[in-house]
């Protein structure tokens, strides 16, 4: 039942709005709304019950294991939320003077400094509001760098075929043409193809390392040399930073610019699709182009640096300073971990992934890159299973929902057929992983014994398989009073 279907004309919550209806006679009649908006007229209790019940239809980290590759679904500590929501932090207006926000700005400044250390970059700006915006900022800085040197010939961004969809989409938003390069048999970027692709048109290369295939690009130093010698810059997509946190710094791998998904590595909540936050880090030569504002600490006082101090900045990406509350949560998480805790993130994420990979392999699942170590994630391919039983990766994913697990990422990266990209974050215990392994074994047996049942999954979720084709062909995107 929709909230609108609970609505009754004239019902209202008297505690939640002014007791009298104020005068609006100063507003000209022709600018006033003629009919009220279609908002529900429900009691406070109706609202609380309705949305509490809706919440119970969701899977979440607080209720289920999410082996969701490339998403780093780790536990979101409750303290990060409650401390970021202290009343003074919530009440602070973004345009309030800096001296009324020294406590908040201290957290932001320290976060910038810690992220610089963790990434090995010379400067950090906290403003991008999600990974894709971090990418946009990064590629825009690459463009600004070339243009500041009077080099307008560079029109191409190189992207491996295994990259996230946001990489090519971002390059196009920055006015570049995308050159895709293939992946070799062992999962590394095809070096011959890279050498052939670079040249005077190369603005840069966008790379995730460990890659979306869950393996560390061994040739990264050589790739860095090839791209730099061609005059291009190297962009690091920080989606998989969790795998190497404190172990390898992207700056040491030769990257010129990087974004960090705080909603992955630094445990800020995914919130059903955001808000994210994706600070960018830059090497020395990109410092003049960083997006503003940036926090500075001078003579014992924190203040914002803006276009005035950074005149070549690529500019602003949000009305204020980005997702401040998300940044606070990440800061609190980092302070809870400390340096030791950060090393352990990568260690135990990697331990969990390699253990799960080993056990699933023993259980008869085909690993896509069996000769390689898993980073914090790995790929199972169900190509053979599909040929033998007709059961697809999607069917297995949906059957996992019946067993009480969120599905792994399916059909990404696109170059591995019938793939499941599996990432068990470091916050999961061996016992949870063992239970998951048992469920995977059960599904494998079911696929052979009762393939039709597996193909019909899920069976126990609030709804069964939904008709996506109907949704796209006859779009029903808003509720209508008569419907």
């Amino acid at each position: 039942m929709l909230i609108f279907e609970h609505s009754r004309p004239g019902r209202r919550n008297y505690s939640q709005s002014p007791t009298t209806a104020a005068e609006t006679s100063n507003i000209p009649q022709n600018l006033l709304r003629k009919t009220p908006p279609l908002l529900p007229e429900v009691s406070e209790m109706d609202t609380v019950r309705h949305y509490t019940r809706l919440s119970q239809l969701n899977f979440s980290i607080d209720t289920q294991f999410y082996p969701l590759g490339s998403c780093t679904m780790k536990y979101n500590p409750r303290a990060c939320n409650s401390l970021a929501m202290l009343p003074q932090f919530l009440a602070r207006h973004p345009l309030a003077p800096e001296d009324t926000g020294q406590g908040f700005l201290a957290c932001m400044y320290e976060l910038q400094e810690i992220l610089k250390d963790v990434t090995g970059m010379a400067g950090v700006s906290l403003t991008p509001m999600a990974g894709a915006q971090g990418e946009l900022v990064g590629v825009a800085m690459i463009r600004a760098y070339h243009e500041a040197r009077g080099d307008y010939a560079r029109t191409e961004i190189i992207v491996p075929d295994a990259a996230h969809g946001t990489n090519p989409a971002t390059a196009v938003m920055c006015g570049y043409t995308v050159v895709e390069i293939p992946t070799g048999k062992e999962g590394d970027v095809d070096m011959a193809a890279l050498k052939a692709a670079v040249g005077p048109k190369t603005a840069g290369l966008m790379l995730t390392n460990p890659s979306t295939l869950g393996i560390f690009e061994k040739n990264i130093a050589e790739m860095s040399r090839i791209v730099h010698e061609a005059g291009g810059l190297l962009y690091y997509d920080g989606a998989n930073l969790n795998a190497i946190l404190g172990k390898v710094k992207p700056g040491d791998m030769g990257f010129d610019v990087i974004h960090i998904n705080l909603h992955k590595t630094f445990s800020t909540p995914h919130g059903g699709g955001g808000p994210g936050s994706a600070p960018v880090g830059v090497a020395e030569r990109l410092l003049p182009f960083m997006p503003v504002p940036i926090v500075a600490f001078e003579q014992g006082t924190y203040r914002w640096l803006t276009e005035k101090e950074i005149p070549q900045s690529i500019g602003r990406l949000s009305a204020h300073m980005g997702n401040a509350g998300v940044l606070l949560r990440a800061y609190i998480y980092i302070r809870l971990l400390g340096a030791e805790g950060m090393y352990r993130v990568a260690e135990f994420a990697t331990l969990n992934a390699n253990y799960l990979m080993a056990e699933l392999s023993k259980a008869g699942f085909e690993i896509a890159y069996p000769t390689r170590r898993a980073s914090h994630e790995f790929i199972v391919t169900l190509k053979d299973l599909k040929e033998k039983t007709g059961v697809t990766a999607m069917n297995v994913a949906k059957r996992l929902l019946d067993k009480g697990y969120h599905a792994p990422t399916t059909y990404f990266p696109m170059l591995v057929p019938e793939c499941l990209l599996i990432e068990p974050a470091e916050t999961e215990s061996k016992q949870t992983l063992d239970a998951f392994i048992s469920s995977m074994k059960e599904i494998l047996a079911e696929a052979h014994a009762q393939p039709e049942m597996v193909k019909g999954a899920p069976h126990t979720t609030p709804v069964r398989k939904l008709d996506d084709v109907k949704a796209a062909r006859e779009p029903d995107l808003t509720w209508k009073q008569s419907s």
């Binding site: 609108f4 209202r12 709005s17 002014p18 104020a22 609006t24 100063n26 000209p28 006033l32 709304r33 908006p37 279609l38 908002l39 509490t52 019940r53 919440s55 899977f59 607080d62 289920q64 969701l68 979101n76 401390l83 207006h93 973004p94 020294q102 810690i114 250390d117 509001m129 999600a130 894709a132 915006q133 946009l136 969809g165 946001t166 006015g175 404190g246 390898v248 791998m253 919130g271 059903g272 699709g273 808000p275 990406l317 009305a319 204020h320 609190i332 971990l337 805790g341 950060m342 331990l351 390699n354 994913a397 949906k398 969120h406 916050t427 061996k430 609030p462 709804v463 796209a472 509720w479």
Partner: protein, 449 residues
């Protein structure tokens, strides 16, 4: 070990299964030359220690009586909004790609889309953008995609000055030209005659703010019709709270604006130093396939039961890659959760009352401020809940003195509009009571005396 549950026994069993001796062995594919030196010393804190640190920092920041608006507005947020929003099932869930495991979030987003479409008078809404400024940039890109021949956007200088900068930063690398349109110095809004030089030219869109940055109401009907007469799209950039009172963009002029975007923060989102907020975007049916971001549709399952899914995904980066309408992926889901609960609790009459009271409080504040010698509202155009006022003394110094009294007396307009002289932008939402206004006016009177 914070948030890592492994016992020593677990670790040794797991390593044995893998066939490795130590955890460090698992990193043996990383070339040794790349392995970093250590991180800077940073002790891990207990929850008690970090709580103490954060509370100290929050206390340093204190609380002020706030009269700043300028794109972020202080409204009362019912207790239920964030108590429900931060339930783990909303807070810690993922983007709803697995529809059967995400019906709560998906249904909520469908309800949100319905509320926003109705509030803006549009046919459809997406499931959110990052914030109002970036939503406006995406609307400009959408207009250029749908127009096909023109890459020029007309942008009144009454649009939030930072929004204008963000639009430039986001669209400039696609060869899109943003032309600024001056405002009427007397009335404080855009005049149709300021657009006359562009009549008959190839224009992708005209941006129309309502209310504008000065709090003044724009002649939206005339501006929308001008855009359509010149084969341009009309993009409304609107305050959703104001729409409880004002004509929605979908009803502007003879055929309505084509796209409505704006900052969703007034709908139950705390000020929080500027974020996270959320941007909204709604449009006419004919433009839906040009829209960026997530869209939720209602459909049925195998048994014919109603359910909700992400739909029209052929627009998006994870399917279309370099041919997507935008690179946006993660958006502001949790903020939309709060806004949907907020709108449900307020309902049409509650929202209207909050908007009306904010309007009335600002009108009262301006009246009282104008009793002070040399203080005067700058523009004659009608206002919603914000006003530009001129002062007989430097605005920066006045703000500084009032801040020492615990009052944030408004935004100094000097940086963005130096032509206005000593000018403040002030806002009094429904959260201000008569005593607050009196306190402000008395203190300002003393400063100016």
């Amino acid at each position: 070990m914070p948030f890592i549950p492994h016992t020593e026994e677990d670790i040794s069993t797991m390593l044995a299964s893998i066939g490795a001796n130590t955890i460090e062995d698992l990193f043996d594919e990383i070339p040794p030359a790349l392995k970093s030196g250590s991180l800077k010393a940073l002790p891990g804190l207990s929850e008690m220690e970090i709580s103490r640190l954060m509370q100290e920092r929050a206390e340093v920041d204190g609380r002020y009586l706030n009269f700043i608006g300028a794109g972020a507005y202080e409204h009362h947020i019912p207790a239920a909004v964030w108590q429900i929003t931060t339930r783990g099932e909303f807070y810690s869930s993922y983007t709803p790609y697995q529809a059967e495991a995400s019906q709560g979030t998906l249904q909520l987003l469908y309800e949100y889309q319905t509320m926003m479409a109705s509030l803006t008078g549009m046919d459809v809404s997406n499931a959110s953008m990052y914030d109002g400024a970036s939503a406006l940039a995406e609307a400009a890109l959408m207009a250029v995609r749908s127009h096909k021949s023109s890459r020029r956007i007309l942008m009144p200088t009454t649009v939030h000055p930072i929004y204008r900068r963000v639009v430039r930063a986001i669209v400039k690398n696609q060869g899109i030209e943003v032309v600024e349109i001056p405002y009427c110095a007397e009335c404080g809004h855009t005049l149709a005659e300021s657009l006359a030089p562009y009549a008959g030219q190839d224009i992708a869109a005209l941006v129309i703010p309502q209310p504008n940055f000065f709090g003044v109401l724009e002649p939206v009907d005339a501006l929308t019709d001008w855009a359509h007469d010149n084969n341009a799209l009309a993009i409304g950039v609107v305050n959703p709270m104001a729409l409880a009172l004002l004509t929605p963009p979908g009803e502007w002029g003879s055929t309505g604006a084509d796209v409505a975007v704006g900052e969703g923060q007034p709908l139950g989102i705390p000020l929080s130093s500027g974020g996270p907020y959320f941007g909204f975007m709604a449009c006419k049916q004919s433009l839906v396939r040009q829209m960026p971001g997530r869209i939720i549709g209602r459909t049925t399952d195998l048994d014919g039961k109603t359910g909700f899914v992400l739909t029209l995904q052929a627009r998006e980066q994870h399917i279309r890659r370099s041919k997507a309408t935008s690179n946006i992926c993660t958006n502001q889901g949790l903020m939309v959760t709060a806004a949907t609960i907020y709108m449900s609790l307020l309902g049409p009459e509650g929202l209207r009352r909050v908007a009306a009271q904010s309007h009335a409080n600002t009108v009262a504040l301006v009246e009282q401020l104008e009793t002070l010698k040399g203080v005067k509202r700058i523009f004659s155009g009608p206002l919603f809940h914000e006003a530009a006022v001129t002062l007989p003394a430097p605005a920066g110094a006045v703000l500084q003195t009032l801040k020492a009294q615990g009052i944030l007396a408004g935004l100094d307009l000097g940086e963005h509009y130096p032509e206005l002289g000593n000018a403040l932008l002030v806002c009094a939402t429904e959260t201000k009571i008569a005593d607050d206004l009196k306190k402000y006016v008395e203190h300002l009177g003393r400063v100016l005396a």
